[in-house]
Symmetry: C2
Subunit: 437 residues, 2 copies
């Protein structure tokens, strides 16, 4: 029984188109920083020139989707009005200005006289990107892909099909005026194609799902290709008994309420038993003001929380104004809870005791571990990356908020002058392994 | 239909043991460089002290396996004699001396006054290692794991069970005298357990298969956990028409014959048509001398190669003294062949024309691309890494020969003093994003 038995084989046509993207991407990988910057600016110009037709196509998608009964939040994500489009075009120009992630030498070593090893960052190759709704994401991802020298195969939701097609046509028109082949971008339109994409091992190097946790999980379960993303964001805040109550209050309100639909919002608040009563007396009214529904364990319900948490709550990502609260006896119990229920995204501690903070930060193996600040800072823009491809909860790099650097890999280049291994195996020659500045 | 439906659920006992390794690994991740160095030296001492019982256990395994009809090459890999054991123990002390891969600061940035972001290398957590035969590999991997701060769950072949048990007992005895918990290492013994290991997502962070291509493929097909390794090593050497014939001859003989069972040996030789006759006239007798069976395409068979290659030969990893030979019209055809049949391991060109060499090296997206040297250099020791965990043909890092650095990841540490995101969202504060030294 193989992982891929349930996924249909990619059609001949899909393999052909994907191979075209791959070939174009190999050319793209050899362009200079300036050529890729120019390409992005020409893409932005072309979007500008197609502004009217993009907005018109979006109106068609909207009315069609409204008639089909698409839910209001999805309709609002589907909407691409003048304002959103302006921001998306600005975004393309901003990505053009980011530093080049490729061509960086990470290692430069003489193995033997005249035998020189280099390790240099190169593009991944071809990205497979699967979107739900938001057509502005197509613009963002296409520009990140070109900037980092990668081809991209884009599959948008059917509800956004007119908009996506008009956008991709514009982007390709822009690329036609540049030194980058327009074939570096390819738009898929059917669901069968997007399933086939999952089986393009050897052509597609990374899959980036942009949508719900369900979408990410669905894809992770059906492909051998690495997937950049996270299926869950179950973040914790632990209020230690040495916490400053004011800081703990502000940080918990911010971590839950500043934007509850984000993956870096907390879902569970752990509170040390010695500070629980004092903290909750002040926190409950504040959470109530913000409209947060609190679910308590059997101790915290005695401290004024009305609703009881069920066992399932500790592993639920609400993405909403709901917060589970648990009282713990000590740091160890908090750590054990996070180990058991966390998703290795971002977890924070509030305490004035540095040694407890350090113990927490070295023991929690999440991609982000925070002391005395809000979990909402876990974000590529806030980290100063200039762009965010996604947030990965994988252990292996790239993990956490991933910027342009997450779209590159490296290659070993070895240059010699007839050097052969048997001279070294026989002991006739020996390696110098001398690092060159 | 989920990828894991075919894999049995891990038993309660396995989950319990694995969780124990995870907990011990969290403690291990907080040890100092010196503590881990000492632990390795104590492991080496303990192996030394158990030398007799290890060799005795190995003799038992050997006679049992011989009686069971194990093939001769496997018996020779199973053998752990005094000499091999001495080398393995030396290896542990060498790993102790390698530089510490953890605790390296990769990023240090002020996001705002008092809000400091760091990105620091940390161990992956727990490695799941599955071996075939070679019991000395258990010693090597266990020491690499401890050196890099990782726990390890080891599953050896049943043919080596006495040897592996005696080795792991000795290693744990050594750890008992150190600051590292012996529970950081755990040996599995049954096949059901090793299958369950594949489903320990969230506990095991990386699976390292050490064995045949079939073993690697079997594992890759049955787990969501990242797998470090390569299922295939189909390496190419392209002899360009501007090649120096002498260099081309020596490099092709070395790349094929120096150790044909290695994954970095070439399986296919591509030759430019304009140099093919001259090159093959000299190469065929040399390959014959070395006992290499040559399989030619329809052109090269006219140039004196007796056996014809079938379509399947271009994608076969012989791991033996067999070499497929194809004549190509130009560089493009060579690149297309490598793109189609290569496994992105290591591919080389022989040419005196620098621009053709550079075109080759920037167009082949294998983890190693070589100019005028043997593919046999693709090896962690030869690269100067001091140790090799494996060679990865994945696109994402770590790729190519992977040393100790491939067993670490990073974590973002953010330290503030009550900082909340809404102050930045409201525009009241703005990020400084100032890199610190």
């Amino acid at each position: 029984m193989n992982i891929l038995d349930s996924v249909p084989e990619p059609s001949e046509d899909l393999v052909k188109r994907a191979s075209q993207v791959k070939r174009a991407a190999i050319e793209l990988s050899q362009t200079t920083d300036i050529q890729r910057k120019n390409a992005l600016n020409l893409m932005a110009d072309a979007l500008e020139a197609s502004r009217e037709s993009i907005i018109k196509a979006n109106l068609e998608d909207l009315s069609r989707s409204e008639a089909a009964g698409l839910a209001a939040p999805l309709l609002s994500r589907l909407l691409l009005d003048d304002n959103k489009l302006t921001k998306a075009i600005e975004g393309v120009r901003q990505v053009a200005h980011l530093g080049d992630p490729i061509g960086k030498r990470q290692l430069h070593r003489e193995l033997y006289k005249g035998l020189i090893l280099e390790r240099i960052t190169v593009p991944l190759g071809v990205l497979g990107v699967i979107f739900e709704s938001r057509p502005d994401a197509v613009i963002q991802i296409a520009s990140l892909a070109i900037r980092s020298g990668n081809g991209s195969i884009l599959k948008g939701g059917s509800e956004a099909s007119f908009t996506n097609k008009t956008i991709v046509d514009a982007l390709m028109l822009g690329l036609q005026k540049s030194d980058v082949y327009p074939e570096c971008i390819c738009l898929l339109t059917t669901r069968t194609e997007s399933l086939g994409l999952l089986k393009l091992d050897g052509i597609v190097d990374l899959i980036i799902p942009r949508g719900s946790n369900e979408l990410v999980r669905f894809i992770q379960d059906r492909t051998h290709i690495p997937v950049l993303g996270h299926a869950d964001g179950i973040c914790h805040l632990y209020v230690d008994n040495h916490a400053n109550i004011t800081k703990a209050l502000e940080i918990s309100i911010d971590s839950k309420c500043q934007y509850p639909a984000a993956c870096n919002a907390i879902e569970t608040l752990l509170i040390h038993k010695d500070i629980a009563l004092e903290f909750l007396e002040k926190a409950i009214p504040r959470f109530n003001e913000c409209g947060v529904r609190l679910l308590g364990d059997n101790i915290s319900t005695q401290y004024g929380i009305e609703n009881e948490a069920s066992a399932a709550d500790w592993s639920t990502e609400y993405l909403d104004l709901v917060l589970a609260i648990k009282i713990v006896s000590n740091l160890e119990e908090a750590l054990e809870h996070i180990r058991k229920y966390g998703s290795r995204h971002t977890d924070a501690i509030v305490t004035e005791d540095i040694s407890i903070a350090e113990k927490f930060m070295s023991s929690v193996d999440s991609s982000g571990v925070y002391h005395n600040c809000s979990t909402r800072f876990a974000d590529g823009f806030r980290y100063g990356f200039g762009a965010e491809v996604g947030i990965s909860t994988q252990t292996l790099p790239p993990r956490g908020p991933v910027g342009l650097d997450g779209l590159v890999t490296y290659r070993y280049f070895l240059r010699g002058d007839g050097h052969i291994a048997s001279d070294f195996a026989s002991g006739q020659k020996s390696f110098s392994h001398k690092d060159l500045n």
